[in-house]
Amino acid sequence: MEVSIDRAAVDRCREAAARIVAPVEAFIGRHSTVSVERAVLRLLGVDGVGADDVPVPNLVVDALPAERRAGGVARAFGAALAETGLAPAQLGAELAAGRCRLDDFAATPEAAARGAVAPYVDAALARVRSRRSERDAWLQRRPQLPPPLLYVIVASGNIYEDRTAAVAAAQAGAQIVAVIRSTGQSLLDFVPFGPTTEGFGGTYATQANFTIMREALDEASERLGRYVMLTNYASGLCMPEIAAMGALERLDMLLNDSMYGILFRDINMKRTFVDQHFSRMLNAYSGIVINTGEDNYLTTADAVEQAPAVLASQFINEQFAHRAGMLDAQIGLGDAYEIDPDREDGFLFQVAQAQLARQIFPNAPLKYMPPTKHMTGDVFKGHLIDALFNLTSVMTGQTIHLCGMLTEAIHTPYLADRVLSLDNARYVMNTARHFGEEISVKPGGRIERRARDVLAGCEALLERVASIGLMAAIDDAAFADVKRSPDGGRGFDGVFERAPEYYNPFEEALRPAAAGVG
């Protein structure tokens, strides 16, 4: 099916999004954050925790005086590597234990510092490339079933229970498993360490937990004869670090949005913009597909009214992703099925919006989120609403399909809830597999008119934002009726201006890959 849309309006939206993002990119280029610097250390091989379970990357970055931090942690750390001859992991441990300080090596020449870092940069990039080729080999040898790729979440709080749930879900047809993070992790300015067995509404994202889940899903992939993907969250205050860990542990997807944290978690906008850029450079290089968070516009306000904001956010996310070097095939733009089920023709509106995104972003692996806002304790009705969500997804060719749970709004899913949900999706998507190819949309009809209205609303919103600038627009509550000031919110103290001699070896290495795209 195809809905007739005004291509010139689409071009104007893209152009407006480019005008919105360009000045922010200039700002990003002049700044770094503590989380970017910690990600650099993690990639170099610094890990573990020191006193009071504070991660070593935090200890090292926090101990740097501001004027040296402005030059990039790699510079100071490289000087210490050159002087001590230690490997990064050992140096990190020495620094954490207080047996030496980066300030002891302030006089080391820049060339020596860079030279000492270089082999570890090469090793890190080689490891990321090898994880990427592993994924490619898996997908060759054990191909996935065709999209929509069925995606479920596990969220017990205990990584070992999550593993059981993930393997069971894979057997029941899940193609992507996301481990929901413990609530509140997005606001932690560090990444916890080691395997974890306690969490709230989810399980902490740690590198050890990533390893545990990846191993279990590899085993399941082998047994099932199809590769099962693993997803986590590069959002919140530690976007770049999670992106680094995801690259090293062969995660396949990461939730990563250019504005979500600002609007819905009150994270400082400058922090988020700088962090999303570096995390996306890493995602681009590691072949990870990002999932953006437009569903949040719909769950916090009226879904019919917010539709233009969803599309506008998709354009902005696309721009930011391109500028970090991501290919269209890595940009899983979000949308959700959240219109009030009591609304007449609500289904038509959902189809219009989903099809609009499909046509405007033809090569993006669109991420479609299930109904949550209007789900009640009536599991029977909920299962039925999920079925229509499933139908919308298959008929409009969505790529990443987060299966709705009949027990949404009751509890984090039970094992059987996931299976019932996967059964529902598999039934609907199989029985209506080629429905979308067989139907055409009535010219001038309700679906087409709705698509046109949403696109027009989106263009007006993007123009308004472009005219005052993205930061000012967010300060003026242009998105989701949420007002955030440029210097307010969490994590602002972790943003700093780069000195002229700023050095980030990974950014330098990955920038050529970013050039020429978008």
Partner: protein, 252 residues
């Protein structure tokens, strides 16, 4: 008076119920029998395992129909006090003007780790729920929607700093009883910080009942399908009663 009732399938007093559950066993006919016995051991009769199947290695899922001999006396359940004051928005505004003479300051939040603001938003947001305007629209209320994941300590601090009259705590999603723990923590903290007596304390969420609320030390609990006007009326009436009991402050 007592009125005993049983679940109704298609005949009065047939006691029919449906259950579904998972057992951590690989499916076989013996697993179906295990499910049947399990349900029988709960006191059900006429147990029929309508569906039993393996859903993953080591896990089977069952749908079971059965009858219960148990009955419940519905007349023994005390009526809910919280919906006793049906008033419209205009009536509530007028009531507050007359009985309180100033705006009621009300703060709401999704407490603890819960990020689902759908309940608190339905009550507070101007748009409201099912055509019933939210409290932000009331002339007689000044509302503060603190959003999601508000720690009980932060909530209590806000209540103290902003002279709040009424507190709405919401919990939508639970994991292993986290909702009850969070509600309890908030009410205990209110008590410990000495603000409990000066606020109307209300909890809400799909699993909240007024009985549960009373047990946890709340003035009222509002469950599924609550309209904003029901909450507003309860707050207005309770606050008016409370102020009437309190000695009048001396004129400034």
């Amino acid at each position: 008076m007592s009125r005993l009732v049983r679940p109704y399938g298609d005949t009065l007093d047939d006691g029919k119920v449906q259950l579904s559950f998972t057992l951590p066993v690989t499916w076989s006919e013996a697993a179906d029998e295990a499910a049947r016995r399990l349900v029988a051991s709960m006191g059900f009769t006429g147990v029929q395992v309508a569906e039993g199947r393996g859903i993953a290695d080591g896990f089977s899922f069952f749908v079971v129909y059965a009858a219960t001999p148990a009955a419940v006396d519905v007349d023994a359940i005390p009526p809910s006090a919280v919906r006793a004051h049906a008033m419209t928005m205009e009536e509530i505004d007028a009531f507050v003007d007359e009985r309180i003479g100033r705006k009621i300051r009300l703060a709401g939040a999704c407490i603890g780790t819960d990020a689902h603001t759908v309940g608190i938003d339905a009550i507070l947001n101007m748009k409201g729920y099912k055509g019933d305007y939210g409290l932000e629209r009331y002339r007689s209320f000044e509302t503060f929607n603190l959003g999601s994941q508000v720690a009980p300590e932060a909530f209590v601090r806000f209540v103290k700093e902003h002279d709040v009259d009424a507190v709405l705590a919401s919990q939508v999603v639970t994991q292993k009883g986290s909702d009850v723990r969070n509600f309890t923590e908030l009410s205990e903290l209110m008590e410990a910080e000495g603000v409990r007596d000066r606020v109307v304390l209300i909890c809400g969420g799909p699993r909240v009942t007024n009985l549960l609320a009373a047990e946890l030390g709340y003035d009222a609990g509002f469950g599924r399908g609550t309209l904003p006007s029901e909450v507003a009326a309860f707050v207005a009436v309770s606050l008016a009663q409370r102020l009437a009991r309190r000695p009048h402050p001396s004129p400034a």
